[in-house]
Protein backbone atom coordinates (compact mmCIF):
# COMPACT_ATOMS: atom_id res chain seq x y z
CA UNK A 1 0.00 0.00 0.00
CA UNK A 2 1.45 3.32 -1.01
CA UNK A 3 1.06 6.22 1.34
CA UNK A 4 2.58 9.66 1.73
CA UNK A 5 2.28 11.90 4.70
CA UNK A 6 3.77 15.19 5.81
CA UNK A 7 3.24 15.93 9.49
CA UNK A 8 3.74 19.56 10.55
CA UNK A 9 6.65 19.98 8.20
CA UNK A 10 8.72 23.13 8.21
CA UNK A 11 11.57 23.72 5.84
CA UNK A 12 13.95 26.63 6.22
CA UNK A 13 17.33 27.17 4.72
CA UNK A 14 19.81 29.96 4.97
CA UNK A 15 21.03 31.61 1.84
CA UNK A 16 24.01 33.89 2.23
CA UNK A 17 23.93 36.89 -0.03
CA UNK A 18 26.99 35.42 -1.68
CA UNK A 19 26.34 31.78 -0.71
CA UNK A 20 29.86 31.13 0.53
CA UNK A 21 31.89 31.96 3.58
CA UNK A 22 34.82 34.12 2.61
CA UNK A 23 38.17 34.06 4.31
CA UNK A 24 37.40 37.40 5.94
CA UNK A 25 34.17 36.09 7.41
CA UNK A 26 35.95 33.00 8.57
CA UNK A 27 38.67 34.92 10.34
CA UNK A 28 36.67 37.83 11.69
CA UNK A 29 33.69 35.73 12.66
CA UNK A 30 30.26 37.21 12.96
CA UNK A 31 31.23 40.45 14.63
CA UNK A 32 31.82 42.56 11.57
CA UNK A 33 30.23 40.70 8.75
CA UNK A 34 26.67 40.23 9.91
CA UNK A 35 25.80 43.88 9.42
CA UNK A 36 27.01 44.16 5.88
CA UNK A 37 26.19 40.69 4.62
CA UNK A 38 23.06 39.42 6.32
CA UNK A 39 22.06 35.81 5.93
CA UNK A 40 18.73 35.51 4.20
CA UNK A 41 16.59 32.84 5.70
CA UNK A 42 14.10 31.27 3.35
CA UNK A 43 11.10 29.77 5.04
CA UNK A 44 10.04 27.57 2.14
CA UNK A 45 7.46 25.37 3.86
CA UNK A 46 5.43 26.48 6.85
CA UNK A 47 3.71 23.91 9.01
CA UNK A 48 2.55 21.74 6.13
CA UNK A 49 0.48 18.69 6.98
CA UNK A 50 -1.44 16.43 4.65
CA UNK A 51 -1.80 12.82 3.73
CA UNK A 52 -2.25 11.05 0.40
CA UNK A 53 -3.39 7.46 0.30
CA UNK A 54 -3.17 4.61 -2.19
CA UNK A 55 -4.92 5.38 -5.47
CA UNK A 56 -5.08 9.13 -4.99
CA UNK A 57 -3.86 11.68 -7.51
CA UNK A 58 -2.79 14.95 -5.96
CA UNK A 59 -2.12 18.18 -7.84
CA UNK A 60 -0.16 21.04 -6.30
CA UNK A 61 -1.00 24.55 -7.50
CA UNK A 62 -0.03 28.07 -6.51
CA UNK A 63 1.82 31.13 -7.71
CA UNK A 64 5.53 31.19 -8.52
CA UNK A 65 7.68 30.71 -5.46
CA UNK A 66 4.83 29.39 -3.36
CA UNK A 67 6.80 26.29 -2.42
CA UNK A 68 5.32 23.79 -4.88
CA UNK A 69 8.57 22.34 -6.16
CA UNK A 70 10.13 22.52 -2.71
CA UNK A 71 7.28 20.45 -1.39
CA UNK A 72 7.75 17.89 -4.14
CA UNK A 73 11.45 17.63 -3.36
CA UNK A 74 10.68 17.25 0.31
CA UNK A 75 8.29 14.44 -0.53
CA UNK A 76 11.01 12.82 -2.64
CA UNK A 77 13.49 13.01 0.22
CA UNK A 78 15.88 15.30 -1.62
CA UNK A 79 15.21 18.01 0.96
CA UNK A 80 15.08 17.01 4.58
CA UNK A 81 12.41 18.82 6.64
CA UNK A 82 13.81 21.17 9.27
CA UNK A 83 10.97 20.25 11.59
CA UNK A 84 8.19 17.72 11.34
CA UNK A 85 7.99 14.27 9.87
CA UNK A 86 7.81 12.79 6.42
CA UNK A 87 6.24 9.35 6.35
CA UNK A 88 6.48 7.28 3.23
CA UNK A 89 5.32 3.80 2.33
CA UNK A 90 6.29 2.58 -1.12
CA UNK A 91 9.05 3.14 -3.63
CA UNK A 92 9.32 6.74 -4.80
CA UNK A 93 10.05 7.65 -8.39
CA UNK A 94 10.49 11.26 -9.22
CA UNK A 95 10.41 13.24 -12.42
CA UNK A 96 11.99 16.60 -11.87
CA UNK A 97 15.09 18.38 -13.12
CA UNK A 98 15.41 15.41 -15.44
CA UNK A 99 17.39 17.28 -18.07
CA UNK A 100 20.30 17.58 -15.62
CA UNK A 101 22.69 14.92 -14.47
CA UNK A 102 24.25 13.43 -17.54
CA UNK A 103 27.86 12.43 -17.87
CA UNK A 104 28.72 14.71 -20.80
CA UNK A 105 31.56 12.61 -22.18
CA UNK A 106 29.68 9.32 -22.05
CA UNK A 107 27.44 8.13 -24.85
CA UNK A 108 23.66 8.07 -24.76
CA UNK A 109 23.68 4.31 -24.22
CA UNK A 110 26.00 4.62 -21.25
CA UNK A 111 23.96 7.41 -19.75
CA UNK A 112 20.89 5.20 -20.01
CA UNK A 113 22.70 2.76 -17.72
CA UNK A 114 23.91 5.37 -15.21
CA UNK A 115 20.53 6.96 -14.81
CA UNK A 116 18.71 3.65 -14.62
CA UNK A 117 21.06 2.41 -11.91
CA UNK A 118 20.38 5.59 -9.97
CA UNK A 119 16.67 4.82 -10.25
CA UNK A 120 17.33 1.45 -8.69
CA UNK A 121 17.66 -0.84 -11.70
CA UNK A 122 20.15 -3.71 -11.78
CA UNK A 123 22.10 -5.04 -14.77
CA UNK A 124 19.49 -7.80 -15.09
CA UNK A 125 16.42 -5.61 -15.14
CA UNK A 126 18.06 -3.03 -17.33
CA UNK A 127 19.06 -5.43 -20.09
CA UNK A 128 15.37 -5.93 -20.81
CA UNK A 129 14.48 -2.24 -20.77
CA UNK A 130 17.49 -0.77 -22.53
CA UNK A 131 16.20 -1.33 -26.06
CA UNK A 132 12.74 -0.06 -25.19
CA UNK A 133 14.23 3.13 -23.75
CA UNK A 134 16.42 3.61 -26.81
CA UNK A 135 13.49 3.05 -29.16
CA UNK A 136 11.37 5.58 -27.34
CA UNK A 137 14.01 8.30 -27.72
CA UNK A 138 14.04 7.78 -31.52
CA UNK A 139 17.61 8.99 -31.43
CA UNK A 140 18.97 5.95 -33.31
CA UNK A 141 22.70 6.16 -33.98
CA UNK A 142 23.00 9.41 -32.02
CA UNK A 143 22.90 7.25 -28.89
CA UNK A 144 26.45 6.17 -29.66
CA UNK A 145 27.60 9.79 -29.51
CA UNK A 146 28.73 11.52 -26.30
CA UNK A 147 25.77 13.44 -24.93
CA UNK A 148 27.68 16.72 -24.86
CA UNK A 149 27.06 16.95 -28.60
CA UNK A 150 23.30 16.61 -28.11
CA UNK A 151 20.91 19.47 -28.67
CA UNK A 152 18.70 20.52 -25.78
CA UNK A 153 15.75 18.74 -27.36
CA UNK A 154 17.66 15.51 -27.80
CA UNK A 155 18.74 15.60 -24.16
CA UNK A 156 15.17 16.06 -23.08
CA UNK A 157 14.10 13.10 -25.18
CA UNK A 158 16.76 10.92 -23.62
CA UNK A 159 16.06 12.13 -20.09
CA UNK A 160 12.34 11.69 -20.45
CA UNK A 161 12.61 8.20 -21.90
CA UNK A 162 14.84 7.00 -19.09
CA UNK A 163 12.86 8.67 -16.35
CA UNK A 164 9.57 7.22 -17.53
CA UNK A 165 10.86 3.68 -18.02
CA UNK A 166 10.23 2.84 -14.38
CA UNK A 167 7.24 1.13 -12.85
CA UNK A 168 6.39 3.64 -10.17
CA UNK A 169 4.63 3.02 -6.90
CA UNK A 170 4.72 6.63 -5.82
CA UNK A 171 5.21 9.04 -8.70
CA UNK A 172 6.26 12.64 -8.17
CA UNK A 173 6.07 14.86 -11.24
CA UNK A 174 7.13 18.46 -11.79
CA UNK A 175 5.80 19.88 -15.05
CA UNK A 176 7.66 17.82 -17.57
CA UNK A 177 4.87 17.48 -20.07
CA UNK A 178 6.39 20.01 -22.42
CA UNK A 179 9.22 17.80 -23.58
CA UNK A 180 10.86 17.96 -27.00
CA UNK A 181 9.34 18.84 -30.33
CA UNK A 182 5.68 18.60 -31.28
CA UNK A 183 5.70 14.94 -32.31
CA UNK A 184 7.56 13.92 -29.21
CA UNK A 185 5.29 15.96 -26.98
CA UNK A 186 2.29 13.99 -28.14
CA UNK A 187 4.13 10.73 -27.49
CA UNK A 188 5.38 11.97 -24.15
CA UNK A 189 1.91 12.99 -23.06
CA UNK A 190 0.57 9.52 -23.77
CA UNK A 191 3.45 7.90 -21.98
CA UNK A 192 2.90 10.11 -18.94
CA UNK A 193 -0.78 9.21 -18.88
CA UNK A 194 0.06 5.50 -18.99
CA UNK A 195 2.59 5.90 -16.27
CA UNK A 196 0.29 7.94 -14.09
CA UNK A 197 -2.39 5.32 -14.53
CA UNK A 198 0.01 2.59 -13.41
CA UNK A 199 1.31 4.48 -10.37
CA UNK A 200 -0.30 3.60 -7.07
CA UNK A 201 -0.11 7.19 -5.98
CA UNK A 202 0.80 10.38 -7.77
CA UNK A 203 1.67 13.92 -6.84
CA UNK A 204 2.15 16.49 -9.58
CA UNK A 205 3.05 20.15 -9.77
CA UNK A 206 1.77 22.15 -12.69
CA UNK A 207 0.68 25.58 -13.76
CA UNK A 208 -1.61 23.99 -16.28
CA UNK A 209 -4.83 23.91 -14.27
CA UNK A 210 -6.52 22.02 -17.08
CA UNK A 211 -4.23 19.05 -16.84
CA UNK A 212 -4.49 19.05 -13.04
CA UNK A 213 -8.22 19.01 -13.37
CA UNK A 214 -8.21 16.03 -15.72
CA UNK A 215 -5.39 14.04 -14.09
CA UNK A 216 -5.89 14.65 -10.38
CA UNK A 217 -8.75 14.04 -8.00
CA UNK A 218 -7.34 16.05 -5.12
CA UNK A 219 -5.40 19.28 -5.01
CA UNK A 220 -3.37 21.47 -2.69
CA UNK A 221 -3.15 25.20 -3.09
CA UNK A 222 0.14 26.51 -1.79
CA UNK A 223 0.53 30.15 -0.83
CA UNK A 224 3.83 31.57 0.44
CA UNK A 225 4.92 28.24 1.85
CA UNK A 226 1.74 27.25 3.63
CA UNK A 227 -1.26 25.23 2.58
CA UNK A 228 -4.05 27.61 1.68
CA UNK A 229 -6.50 24.88 0.75
CA UNK A 230 -6.56 21.12 0.48
CA UNK A 231 -9.47 19.19 -0.95
CA UNK A 232 -11.21 18.01 -4.09
CA UNK A 233 -9.35 19.13 -7.20
CA UNK A 234 -12.37 20.92 -8.63
CA UNK A 235 -13.05 22.96 -5.51
CA UNK A 236 -9.44 23.95 -4.96
CA UNK A 237 -8.89 24.98 -8.58
CA UNK A 238 -12.12 26.95 -8.48
CA UNK A 239 -11.09 28.84 -5.36
CA UNK A 240 -7.61 29.45 -6.75
CA UNK A 241 -8.96 30.90 -9.97
CA UNK A 242 -11.35 33.14 -8.07
CA UNK A 243 -8.50 34.55 -6.03
CA UNK A 244 -6.42 35.26 -9.12
CA UNK A 245 -9.19 36.88 -11.18
CA UNK A 246 -9.75 40.06 -9.17
CA UNK A 247 -6.04 40.80 -9.31
CA UNK A 248 -5.89 40.55 -13.07
CA UNK A 249 -9.02 42.67 -13.36
CA UNK A 250 -7.45 45.33 -11.19
CA UNK A 251 -4.28 45.24 -13.22
Amino acid sequence: MARLELDHVDLTFKVRSCNVITLKEFLLGKIFTNKTRPNMEVHALKNVSFCVEQGERLGIIGHNGAGKSTMLKTLAGVYQPTRGKRIIEGRVSSLFEIALGFEPEASGWENISFRSYLQGETPKTISKKRQAIADFTELGDFLKMPVRYYSAGMLVRLAFSIATSIDPEILLVDEVLAAGDLAFQEKARNRMKEMMARAHLMVMVSHDLGSIQTLCDRAIWMDHGSVRMFGKAQDVIGAYMNSVKPETAAA
Partner: protein, 260 residues
Protein backbone atom coordinates in the same frame (compact mmCIF):
# COMPACT_ATOMS: atom_id res chain seq x y z
CA UNK B 1 26.36 2.49 10.65
CA UNK B 2 25.74 -0.90 9.08
CA UNK B 3 22.46 0.25 7.59
CA UNK B 4 24.32 3.21 6.11
CA UNK B 5 26.92 0.96 4.55
CA UNK B 6 24.25 -1.31 3.18
CA UNK B 7 22.44 1.63 1.59
CA UNK B 8 25.74 2.47 -0.12
CA UNK B 9 25.86 -1.11 -1.30
CA UNK B 10 22.34 -0.78 -2.70
CA UNK B 11 23.63 1.87 -5.08
CA UNK B 12 26.65 -0.19 -6.12
CA UNK B 13 25.71 -0.41 -9.79
CA UNK B 14 25.34 3.34 -9.95
CA UNK B 15 28.66 4.38 -8.44
CA UNK B 16 30.57 1.50 -9.93
CA UNK B 17 29.45 2.34 -13.46
CA UNK B 18 30.44 5.96 -12.85
CA UNK B 19 33.91 4.88 -11.73
CA UNK B 20 34.29 2.77 -14.85
CA UNK B 21 33.18 5.72 -16.93
CA UNK B 22 35.66 8.07 -15.23
CA UNK B 23 38.53 5.72 -16.03
CA UNK B 24 37.37 5.29 -19.58
CA UNK B 25 37.06 9.05 -20.14
CA UNK B 26 40.47 9.70 -18.69
CA UNK B 27 42.18 7.93 -21.53
CA UNK B 28 39.63 8.75 -24.20
CA UNK B 29 41.24 9.17 -27.58
CA UNK B 30 44.73 8.29 -26.35
CA UNK B 31 46.71 5.70 -28.27
CA UNK B 32 48.06 3.85 -25.25
CA UNK B 33 44.83 4.17 -23.27
CA UNK B 34 44.96 2.31 -19.97
CA UNK B 35 48.61 1.58 -20.67
CA UNK B 36 49.33 5.08 -19.41
CA UNK B 37 48.37 4.18 -15.86
CA UNK B 38 51.20 1.63 -15.98
CA UNK B 39 53.66 3.71 -17.96
CA UNK B 40 53.16 6.89 -15.96
CA UNK B 41 54.47 5.56 -12.61
CA UNK B 42 57.32 3.75 -14.37
CA UNK B 43 58.39 6.93 -16.15
CA UNK B 44 58.06 9.10 -13.04
CA UNK B 45 60.09 6.67 -10.96
CA UNK B 46 62.81 6.45 -13.59
CA UNK B 47 63.10 10.23 -13.80
CA UNK B 48 63.14 10.70 -10.02
CA UNK B 49 65.56 7.81 -9.66
CA UNK B 50 68.00 9.41 -12.05
CA UNK B 51 67.67 12.87 -10.48
CA UNK B 52 67.50 12.07 -6.78
CA UNK B 53 69.35 8.77 -6.87
CA UNK B 54 72.43 10.81 -7.69
CA UNK B 55 71.80 13.43 -5.00
CA UNK B 56 71.13 10.96 -2.22
CA UNK B 57 73.67 8.52 -3.67
CA UNK B 58 71.29 5.61 -3.65
CA UNK B 59 71.37 2.34 -5.56
CA UNK B 60 68.52 2.25 -8.08
CA UNK B 61 67.67 -1.34 -7.14
CA UNK B 62 66.70 -0.12 -3.72
CA UNK B 63 65.75 3.45 -4.55
CA UNK B 64 63.41 2.55 -7.45
CA UNK B 65 60.93 0.46 -5.44
CA UNK B 66 61.42 2.80 -2.47
CA UNK B 67 60.43 5.88 -4.48
CA UNK B 68 57.60 4.17 -6.31
CA UNK B 69 56.04 2.81 -3.11
CA UNK B 70 56.19 6.25 -1.51
CA UNK B 71 54.79 8.06 -4.55
CA UNK B 72 52.00 5.53 -4.98
CA UNK B 73 50.69 5.88 -1.43
CA UNK B 74 51.23 9.65 -1.37
CA UNK B 75 49.50 10.25 -4.70
CA UNK B 76 46.55 8.11 -3.71
CA UNK B 77 45.98 10.05 -0.50
CA UNK B 78 46.51 13.50 -2.01
CA UNK B 79 44.30 12.77 -5.01
CA UNK B 80 41.62 11.54 -2.66
CA UNK B 81 41.81 14.84 -0.81
CA UNK B 82 42.10 17.30 -3.71
CA UNK B 83 39.56 15.51 -5.89
CA UNK B 84 37.40 14.74 -2.88
CA UNK B 85 37.02 18.50 -2.44
CA UNK B 86 35.06 18.62 -5.69
CA UNK B 87 33.18 15.36 -5.33
CA UNK B 88 29.91 16.86 -4.12
CA UNK B 89 29.94 19.70 -6.64
CA UNK B 90 30.54 17.29 -9.48
CA UNK B 91 27.53 15.29 -8.35
CA UNK B 92 25.20 18.26 -7.89
CA UNK B 93 22.75 17.21 -10.58
CA UNK B 94 22.39 13.72 -9.12
CA UNK B 95 22.03 15.08 -5.61
CA UNK B 96 19.24 17.42 -6.72
CA UNK B 97 17.33 14.59 -8.31
CA UNK B 98 17.60 11.64 -6.08
CA UNK B 99 18.19 11.07 -2.38
CA UNK B 100 21.24 8.83 -2.07
CA UNK B 101 23.76 8.25 0.71
CA UNK B 102 26.20 11.11 0.07
CA UNK B 103 29.26 8.98 0.77
CA UNK B 104 28.98 7.41 -2.67
CA UNK B 105 30.25 10.56 -4.39
CA UNK B 106 33.58 10.71 -2.54
CA UNK B 107 33.72 6.94 -3.01
CA UNK B 108 33.56 7.51 -6.74
CA UNK B 109 36.66 9.70 -6.73
CA UNK B 110 38.52 7.42 -4.32
CA UNK B 111 37.87 4.33 -6.40
CA UNK B 112 39.02 6.18 -9.51
CA UNK B 113 42.38 7.03 -7.99
CA UNK B 114 42.31 3.64 -6.23
CA UNK B 115 42.71 2.04 -9.63
CA UNK B 116 46.00 3.84 -10.16
CA UNK B 117 47.01 3.00 -6.61
CA UNK B 118 46.42 -0.70 -7.34
CA UNK B 119 48.44 -0.59 -10.55
CA UNK B 120 51.24 1.23 -8.71
CA UNK B 121 51.26 -1.27 -5.87
CA UNK B 122 51.41 -4.23 -8.24
CA UNK B 123 54.37 -2.56 -9.90
CA UNK B 124 56.08 -2.04 -6.53
CA UNK B 125 55.58 -5.70 -5.65
CA UNK B 126 57.01 -6.77 -9.01
CA UNK B 127 60.04 -4.45 -8.71
CA UNK B 128 60.65 -5.50 -5.13
CA UNK B 129 60.54 -9.21 -5.96
CA UNK B 130 62.86 -8.65 -8.89
CA UNK B 131 65.45 -6.35 -7.30
CA UNK B 132 65.23 -7.22 -3.61
CA UNK B 133 63.93 -10.76 -3.37
CA UNK B 134 61.05 -12.49 -1.58
CA UNK B 135 60.38 -11.15 1.95
CA UNK B 136 58.53 -14.25 3.19
CA UNK B 137 54.85 -15.10 3.59
CA UNK B 138 54.07 -13.17 6.77
CA UNK B 139 55.38 -9.75 5.61
CA UNK B 140 53.50 -10.13 2.34
CA UNK B 141 50.29 -11.01 4.18
CA UNK B 142 50.46 -7.86 6.30
CA UNK B 143 49.93 -5.85 3.11
CA UNK B 144 46.29 -6.96 3.09
CA UNK B 145 45.16 -5.10 6.23
CA UNK B 146 47.54 -2.23 5.38
CA UNK B 147 45.97 -1.60 2.02
CA UNK B 148 42.48 -1.89 3.49
CA UNK B 149 43.40 0.75 6.08
CA UNK B 150 44.85 3.07 3.44
CA UNK B 151 41.67 2.74 1.40
CA UNK B 152 39.42 3.53 4.37
CA UNK B 153 41.68 6.46 5.25
CA UNK B 154 41.49 7.81 1.69
CA UNK B 155 37.71 7.51 1.57
CA UNK B 156 37.31 9.19 4.96
CA UNK B 157 39.65 12.02 3.99
CA UNK B 158 37.82 12.68 0.76
CA UNK B 159 34.50 12.78 2.64
CA UNK B 160 35.87 15.22 5.21
CA UNK B 161 37.47 17.53 2.68
CA UNK B 162 34.47 17.27 0.39
CA UNK B 163 32.12 18.36 3.16
CA UNK B 164 34.39 21.19 4.28
CA UNK B 165 34.67 22.50 0.73
CA UNK B 166 30.89 22.61 0.41
CA UNK B 167 30.60 24.79 3.52
CA UNK B 168 33.83 26.71 3.08
CA UNK B 169 35.08 26.96 -0.50
CA UNK B 170 38.62 27.96 0.34
CA UNK B 171 39.28 24.51 1.77
CA UNK B 172 40.54 23.24 -1.57
CA UNK B 173 43.20 25.90 -1.99
CA UNK B 174 44.30 25.77 1.61
CA UNK B 175 44.57 21.99 1.52
CA UNK B 176 46.68 22.11 -1.64
CA UNK B 177 49.21 24.33 0.06
CA UNK B 178 49.08 22.25 3.22
CA UNK B 179 49.73 19.09 1.25
CA UNK B 180 52.73 20.66 -0.45
CA UNK B 181 54.24 21.43 2.95
CA UNK B 182 53.37 17.97 4.22
CA UNK B 183 55.02 16.44 1.17
CA UNK B 184 58.43 17.71 2.21
CA UNK B 185 57.87 16.53 5.76
CA UNK B 186 56.96 13.04 4.60
CA UNK B 187 59.66 10.52 3.69
CA UNK B 188 58.27 9.99 0.20
CA UNK B 189 61.35 10.91 -1.81
CA UNK B 190 64.01 10.56 0.84
CA UNK B 191 64.67 7.78 3.35
CA UNK B 192 63.61 8.64 6.93
CA UNK B 193 67.26 8.29 7.96
CA UNK B 194 68.05 11.58 6.17
CA UNK B 195 66.07 13.59 8.72
CA UNK B 196 66.81 11.47 11.76
CA UNK B 197 69.11 13.08 14.27
CA UNK B 198 68.33 16.54 12.90
CA UNK B 199 66.17 19.11 14.60
CA UNK B 200 63.20 18.47 12.30
CA UNK B 201 63.43 14.73 12.88
CA UNK B 202 60.62 14.76 15.41
CA UNK B 203 58.26 16.04 12.70
CA UNK B 204 58.53 12.68 10.99
CA UNK B 205 57.26 11.01 14.12
CA UNK B 206 54.27 13.36 14.23
CA UNK B 207 53.52 12.96 10.54
CA UNK B 208 50.27 10.98 10.21
CA UNK B 209 51.30 9.60 6.80
CA UNK B 210 54.62 8.10 7.94
CA UNK B 211 53.22 4.97 9.64
CA UNK B 212 51.40 4.00 6.46
CA UNK B 213 54.54 4.38 4.38
CA UNK B 214 56.35 2.26 6.91
CA UNK B 215 53.69 -0.45 6.74
CA UNK B 216 54.08 -0.59 2.96
CA UNK B 217 57.85 -0.33 2.87
CA UNK B 218 58.79 -2.69 5.69
CA UNK B 219 57.66 -5.82 3.85
CA UNK B 220 58.44 -4.67 0.31
CA UNK B 221 61.65 -2.66 0.67
CA UNK B 222 63.22 -3.75 3.94
CA UNK B 223 61.86 -7.31 3.68
CA UNK B 224 60.64 -7.50 7.25
CA UNK B 225 57.37 -7.65 9.15
CA UNK B 226 56.24 -4.20 10.32
CA UNK B 227 56.18 -3.71 14.07
CA UNK B 228 52.92 -4.06 15.97
CA UNK B 229 53.39 -0.53 17.26
CA UNK B 230 53.33 0.91 13.74
CA UNK B 231 50.19 -1.09 13.03
CA UNK B 232 48.58 0.26 16.19
CA UNK B 233 49.37 3.87 15.30
CA UNK B 234 48.11 3.44 11.73
CA UNK B 235 44.94 1.77 12.98
CA UNK B 236 44.32 4.58 15.45
CA UNK B 237 44.78 7.23 12.75
CA UNK B 238 42.44 5.37 10.40
CA UNK B 239 39.79 4.85 13.08
CA UNK B 240 39.94 8.49 14.13
CA UNK B 241 39.62 9.78 10.57
CA UNK B 242 36.82 7.34 9.86
CA UNK B 243 34.87 8.37 12.95
CA UNK B 244 35.27 12.04 12.10
CA UNK B 245 34.15 11.45 8.51
CA UNK B 246 31.16 9.42 9.61
CA UNK B 247 29.94 11.84 12.25
CA UNK B 248 30.41 14.88 9.99
CA UNK B 249 28.56 13.07 7.25
CA UNK B 250 25.63 12.14 9.47
CA UNK B 251 25.18 15.66 10.75
CA UNK B 252 25.80 17.55 7.49
CA UNK B 253 24.61 15.14 4.85
CA UNK B 254 21.05 16.42 4.69
CA UNK B 255 22.09 20.07 4.48
CA UNK B 256 24.63 19.70 1.69
CA UNK B 257 22.07 20.36 -0.99
CA UNK B 258 21.36 23.85 0.38
CA UNK B 259 24.99 24.84 0.02
CA UNK B 260 25.77 23.58 -3.48
Amino acid sequence: MLSYLSSIWDYRYFWFSLVQNDLKQRYRGSVLGMGWSLLHPIAMTTILCVVFGGIFQQDYRFFGPFLLSGMTVWNFLTHSITMGCNSFFAAEAYIRQHPTPMAIYPLRTVLGSGFHFTVGMLLVVALSLWFLGFPGIVPILTLGPTILMIFILAWSLSIIFGLFTVIFRDTKHISEIGLQILFYLTPVMYPPSVLEGRRVGYLLKLNPISPFLELIRDPLIYLKTPSLETFGVALAITALTYTLAYSLLRSWEKRIIFHL
